[in-house]
């Protein structure tokens, strides 16, 4: 296989992506079927997906994938044709097979050889045996079809050749091989397809007994274009497989080749029709067929004579043959139609996950987003300028441009946003496999799958989520006996939920298991000296300990989790994404772990304020109201005000950030809300709402708290985006500490300056 050519590498990459999508679609169809949605269309889609993966895999020589997928496809074909009823057990088997296909593909694409991993190969074999057993239920064979009963094949062709004499009509050739007439179109090489690959792949469905290469189309040396393919092939193939399977070999060049296929012992008339339909002419082809032992000379003579007799009458046009041939094979036509529909980009053809996408390189997207960001800034600047002049028309024009630019920006930013559902769906498999390994019956509930977040974020979330889910299954959920004893349903539930909150995304991983045991964690913490004997930590403080490196209360270490490594990694990963982890737990009723993450590249609706003329942006979602800080409470050193009868703690940004300077005569409080806590932020000036692009502050400021990013204002200034979560934390935790925020920040600032 020419894997080394750049074209091939690109094709392989596309194949990897496409097969990934197909596998995803298969998983979603299988789940729907398991849940009782018995739509035939789903079976068709499953079959098509398996078929495409097999076909494409074959092109790249991924034999392990092809071999295994072939069995899956056979079973699917039986199910689709109604030869077998669809049972939950079969669906489970198919689910496992899908997983195996995924693993095989991954292995093959990573290492180029799926057979290399013995464990994987062993699993292929055992699943293969189960598939064979399932197939055996109906007495073997794929999809009934021609091989099982050749007598059913002729009728369509018979209708084609009404004029032929009865004798010839019924006269069958002696050869017991398939005959393939293959003509590649000249452009096939340009499409990145190598005819040789197909011939090689053809050998996976049978043995090539004879092959004749037709070079009749080869023009003179001057006229020849080395990029064109001029070859045709006449092939005798010995194969046990049916017509579909053989045609499937050429799936990928269906548009770029003419393929005519005659089953073994076809009627002579069919051969004659074939010869007539091909451009090389009957004499030349007749010789080839005889040479290939496809026809005996007598058969050829007989056929041609009869044909000549009826030459004046109905000559069967090639097109009709093709149409008739096509009609005999509904799946092929269906697939072709599907393909056509996709090419036309017709919407509404979304059959359960086969959604349509345009692949764009992420870098191009970033470039576009950067440019749009600059456009927004430039637009704002021109708007400012227009406002400064007393020209109403210029103002209006600037306003219109601005509005459009904002729309463009909104759309552009959304391009990078992906739904988290795809990530969530991957856990169906994890839950199923782990549940089986641990003997637990588990249902996975997914909500908020449509919640969007930045693609780069999604990629980084995979590992921590995986860890938390495994943890919930292994530690959170009790074994079935214990669940029943505790009066809970036997089936455990794991929940994955996502929603947007205060300009960030919240992801919850929950279970209805045993919950965290406060006493056990406390005892373990004391044992390890993390907490003194006489200390009584608050619940959040105590639960936070499970994120300590090496902290585990599991009595037995399983191969799934319990070693105490991992939770600390989860916390670190989330912290690196500027997120936080919270734990809600009720002993005996379950645990929910809540990840609160920013949307790194979100459209932030902000509220602009200034302190000491430094611009700060508060996320608008968290801003509740603005009030004036009265001179009397300002003079007072209390750190809270009375807001309509309620205590509102506040912090002064000037002091918190050690900005220095003297406060103006009138200060304002912006009331922000974070997780039910209301906190006042004292600032100098309120400057109103704005929409802005978050720019990360870069590596130099990584790990800084209190600021979540920066943004460029219309004036070209850089504004700093405040991290409301941290501010709220500082303001509310202040009561536990003796010093006010000023004292805290003094510590912080001095620690910096003594660097």
């Amino acid at each position: 296989m020419p894997h080394n050519s750049p074209d091939m590498a690109a094709a392989l990459r596309t194949f990897a992506e496409e097969s990934g999508e197909l596998l995803e679609a298969m998983a979603s169809h299988l789940r729907a079927l398991l849940e009782g949605d018995e739509d035939m269309e789903r079976l068709h889609a499953l079959f098509r997906a398996a078929h495409t993966i097999k076909g494409a895999g074959g092109m790249f020589g991924l034999d392990a994938v092809v071999g295994f997928t072939h069995l899956v496809e056979n079973l699917l074909s039986q199910l689709r044709d109604g030869h077998q009823p669809l049972t939950p057990a079969l669906l489970e088997l198919l689910m496992d097979c899908r997983d195996q296909m995924e693993d095989l593909l991954k292995e093959a694409l990573d290492d180029g050889d799926a057979a290399a991993d013995p464990a994987l190969a062993a699993r292929s074999d055992s699943l293969g045996a189960r598939l064979q057993a399932a197939l055996g239920n109906t007495g073997g064979g794929t999809g009934g079809g021609e091989t099982a009963s050749p007598a059913t094949a002729p009728p369509p062709s018979a209708a084609l050749t009404p004029a032929t004499d009865e004798d010839v009509e019924l006269e069958r050739v002696e050869a017991d091989t398939w005959h393939l007439s293959l003509r590649f179109s000249p452009g096939v090489l340009r499409e990145g397809m190598d005819p040789i690959s197909f011939l090689r792949y053809l050998e996976s469905v049978g043995r090539i007994v004879h092959i004749a290469t037709l070079v009749d189309n080869l023009p003179d040396a001057e006229a020849m274009d080395p990029l064109n393919c001029y070859f045709g092939f006449e092939i005798e193939l010995e194969s046990e497989r049916d017509k579909d399977a053989i045609e499937a070999v050429f799936d990928f060049v269906r548009d770029d080749c003419q393929l005519r296929l005659l089953p073994p012992h076809s009627r002579i008339a069919d051969y004659i029709a074939l010869i007539q339909g091909l451009p090389e002419g009957p004499d030349r082809l007749g010789e080839i067929l005889v040479a290939a032992n496809a026809l005996t000379r007598q058969e050829l003579e007989l056929g041609l004579t009869h044909q000549r007799q009826f030459a004046g009458q109905a000559q069967v046009p090639l097109g009709e043959i093709l149409i008739a041939e096509g009609m005999t094979h509904p799946p092929v036509v269906e697939a072709a139609l599907d393909r056509q529909a996709q090419a036309k980009g017709r919407p509404g053809k979304d059959k359960g996950g086969e959604s349509q996408f345009v692949r764009v390189h992420a870098e191009k997207l970033d470039e576009l987003i950067n440019l749009v960001g600059e456009l927004v800034i430039a637009g704002a600047a021109s708007h400012l300028l227009a406002r400064g002049r007393r020209d109403r028309r210029a103002q209006e024009a600037a306003l219109t441009v601005n509005r459009l630019v904002e729309q463009v920006r909104d759309v552009t930013l959304k391009l990078r946003m992906v739904e988290i559902g795809e990530t969530f769906n991957r856990f169906h498999r994890v839950v199923r496999e782990l549940g089986r390994d641990l003997g637990k019956d588990i249902a996975l509930d997914i909500t908020g799958a449509e919640t969007e977040l930045d693609k780069s974020m999604v990629e980084k979330l995979g590992d921590p989520l995986m860890h938390l889910v495994r943890n919930a299954i292994d530690h959170g959920l009790e074994p079935p006996e214990q669940r029943l004893a505790a009066g809970k349903p036997e089936r455990g539930r794991v929940r994955l939920n996502a929603y947007h909150d205060s300009g960030g995304i919240v992801i919850e991983i929950g279970d209805d298991g045993r919950g965290l045991d406060r006493e056990r964690i406390l005892a373990r913490a004391r044992e390890r000296g993390l907490i003194g004997e006489d200390e009584t930590p608050s619940d959040p403080e105590l639960y936070a300990l499970i994120f300590e490196p090496g902290f585990s209360t599991a009595q037995t270490v399983t191969n799934v989790s319990g070693r105490g490594v991992g939770m600390d990694v989860v916390k670190k990963t989330i912290a690196a994404l500027r997120g936080t982890v919270e734990i809600d737990t009720v002993l005996g009723a379950g645990t929910t772990i809540r990840l609160r993450l920013p949307l790194t590249l979100a459209i932030i609706e902000g509220f602009l304020v200034r302190v000491e003329n430094v611009p700060f942006v508060l996320p608008l979602e968290s801003v509740r109201e603005c009030i004036a800080l009265s001179a009397t409470s300002a003079a007072d050193r209390r750190q809270y005000v009375n807001l309509r009868g309620e205590v509102l703690p506040y912090l002064r940004l000037r002091e918190l950030f050690a900005l220095g300077g003297t406060p103006p005569r009138r200060e304002n409080i912006v009331v922000v809300r974070h997780q039910g806590n209301r906190v006042g932020v004292v600032v100098d000036q309120l400057q109103g709402e704005l929409q802005t692009v978050i720019k990360p502050l870069g590596r130099l400021f990584r790990g800084m708290r209190g600021l979540s990013g920066s943004s460029i204002l219309g004036s070209g200034e850089v504004a700093l985006i405040l991290d409301v979560a941290t501010l709220a934390e500082i303001a509310t935790s202040r009561d536990h500490n003796r010093g006010g925020p000023a004292a805290q920040l003094q510590q912080g600032a001095s620690a910096c300056s003594t660097q």
């Binding site: 600059e374 611009p615 502050l697």
Partner: protein, 181 residues
């Protein structure tokens, strides 16, 4: 003749940057002293202004600027060299530099008192960094360039603006913050 061994030590001790690149340097003044950086590290020179201070950062971080849509941190070289912060004057500039790091090139700005000129210094006129006596950390110095007006301290940009060293501060600040919160 005595220059020959000196030259070879320069090549050996000064990291590859000075040895392999063409010897053109942008010279500038910080706290009255003349410094130079390899011209290949310099992205552009811009007027000082429109700087947003970032709170709770060490004093050598002056703030961030908007460089055509990118937010770029600006550092005070004087403070980095252990001297009092730079006073902004008429000739104060920001030199935008590309600094190598393990995560690709980083763009950083540095405030300087004034930018002088681009000098070509032949390699035989570059002496190795003195092991003592310089007023800045020896590992910051790639070499001492000899010119008719005296010595120019040629800076090892990768070390002076080492992101690992600078970013440490951020994490310290955050730990302190966590301790408080």
């Amino acid at each position: 003749m005595s220059k020959l061994p000196a030259k070879s030590t320069t090549a050996a001790s000064a990291p590859a940057e000075a040895a392999s690149e063409r010897r053109q340097f942008l010279t500038f003044q910080v706290d009255g002293e003349l410094f130079g950086v390899s011209i290949l590290r310099v992205k552009e020179i811009i007027e000082f202004g429109n700087l947003t201070p970032v709170p709770m950062t060490p004093p050598y971080v002056r703030g961030v600027i908007n460089l055509r849509g990118a937010v770029v941190p600006v550092l005070d070289l004087a403070v980095r060299f252990g001297r009092p912060p730079l006073n902004v004057g008429r000739r104060t500039c920001i030199i935008i530099l590309e600094v190598p790091s393990d995560e690709g090139e980083l763009v950083l700005g540095t405030v300087v008192d004034a930018v002088n000129e681009v000098l070509e210094i032949p390699s035989h006129l570059i002496e190795p960094a003195p092991s003592f006596g310089a007023r800045i950390r020896p590992d910051f110095i790639a070499g001492m360039g000899k010119t008719d007006k005296g010595f120019v301290v040629l800076l090892e940009v990768g070390r002076v603006l080492s992101i690992d060293e600078l970013a440490l501060v951020g994490s310290l600040a955050s730990e302190e913050d966590e301790g408080v919160a």
